[in-house]
Amino acid sequence: MTAIPATGPSLSKRARGLLPYLGIAACALWCLAPFYWMVISAFRRPQDQFDNTVVPVRWSLENFTAVFSGGNAFGRALLNSLVVAGTTTLLTLLVGVVTAYALARLSFPFKNAVLGIIIATTMFPGVSQLVPLLKLFTGIGWINTYQAMVVPSLGFALPLSVWLLTTFFRQLPFELEQAAMVDGCTRGQAFRRIIVPLAAPGVFTTAIITFIAAWNEYLIALSMVNEKDMQTATVAISKFTGISGFDQPFGTQMAAGVIVTVPLVIVVLIFQRRIVAGLTAGGVK
């Protein structure tokens, strides 16, 4: 069950102490290797793309140029991704903060039913929504529009966001608002000036998680859009054609992969603690 092998008494104590580190190193390698390979493959020359050297024989940026070359329209795809993921995140936060605040602070009829619905919907399989959404959006002419991608993502992101934000709001003591109101704040001011700044870390964590999920969304974006100009980056990558137009363009795909993931990697490296805290708070409670 664990990585610690059954260590017999024959092993010296020193070796036993080292074993966990070996395990950790192996694990780090296992996680990193494919990612490393992506970066390295991206920097190979297209004609070397099936090389297996650990470092490219000749470094080259050709793959990156190919990503943005005529037929692939990747710049446009990146912009689409940014619009879709950005809008989704903003709307999710806007609706999510208000809902979570109400759920955390106020009492009203059917509150538990509301919570129940929100939790239950997190278990819905994304694929099963596909058919009805496709029919709905075909019916109202939303195929090949941004909203056809934003709105389902919003639906999928909201339950988690509301849940995370409710957790964060509940951690803030009620006395904060009361004290503010005693000091002359109106209720709205108490919310804006006291609660929102204090909840900022939680809101921020939720924003990052929502953005990553929306940025990586593939199924809806693939199904709701068939015009090249409206494709998001993740879909565009899967439809790349090589420089020659015939071969599987691994090099180009890897380069595009690097471009798509670099922003995410930076975000994760900077806000790692936050993301971990947010996810475990949502998952453990």
Binding site: T2, A3, G23, I24, C27, A28, C31, L32, P34, F35, W37, M38, Q49, F50, V98, T99, Y101, L106, S107, F108, K111, T121, M123, F124, P125, G126, S128, Q129, L130, V131, L133, L134, K135, V151, G155, P159, L160, E177, Q178, M181, V182, I212, N216, S223, A233, T234, I237, S238, F250, M254, V260, T261, L264, A277, L279, T280, A281, G282, G283, V284
Partner: protein, 348 residues
Amino acid sequence: MGRATSDAEAGSDPGAGSGADAGTGGTAGAGGAGVGAHAPPPAPAPPGDAAGLGRPRALAFVTPALVLILVFLVFPALWTIYLGVTDYRLTGIAAVEPRVVGLDNYGRAVGDERFHTSLWLTLQFVLGSAVIGQAGLGFAIAWVTRGRGRTLRGLVEGLVMLAWILPGSVVAFLWIALLDRDGGTLNALLDTPGAAWLLDHPMLSVIVFNVWRGTAFSMMLYSAALQSVPPSHLETARLAGASTWQQLRDVVFPHIRGHALTNLLLISLWTFNDFTPFLLTAGGPEGRSEVLAVYILNVAVRGGELGYGAAISFLILLINLIVALFYLRMLRERRTAAPAEPVAGGGR
């Protein structure tokens, strides 16, 4: 143990969940009555209505989210039930005027060899990659890195997370390149030229891929959970001569049972509904890696049989529900005192 909190940020919140709900029945009305007045020194709000917003506004706050969730999650789910009893197709006459065919689609699924295979493959996928792979490996990493330096833990955490946040379509191509028959890196490493991993062992490839991809969540959750195990208990067990396995079984697992079940519930459902294997193998060769999510996509979107696809979708929903109820029941057995709050999760 019940609601052991996870980490520093969540640590200051013992039982706040029930605090907001408890004992509000009578006071809610009073809070609502005081809303309209803008009297400068407001009386301390009743516990259920700390913000003093009152019922109507509270409802107004919740409505947008509810409407969105109802329209784009609940309504499609209900529609799936309806579409599942029609012969609705993507093209042709049945696309314009779908006929209600009753339970024909379900009858077809019951007799469909391909559906059976798909169900069986999904089971392997969930057990192999989620329950054994992700949860097992995730726990192993969490256990081994527990109590080590902050830097080391941060590093490992960051690396594991990397695999988790990358877009599915990108990592799929990465793995295709890795497992390729002629130029594949794995073949070069193992010195097995010409081994077509994705063709000869499609299910194994997909399972290993999903373990690689999804371990992060389990690891993070178990890391947080392990912090709730009192070190003194472990120390005592060790002094008493307990082996690692005995420590795990008798000290650690009783403490993290709730977390372990929560984690298993989430990753089981996610894996069940995960359709990334499609990007790796498209369900092939000959449907040997066609898990249910991929099956739906192949039948409904590629094959155009939306009605049949919807029926399968509904079956998946039912299976999910059963799995969820099973886990929640196990959770409740232990947590009778605390309200058995289910959990939310992310990263579809």
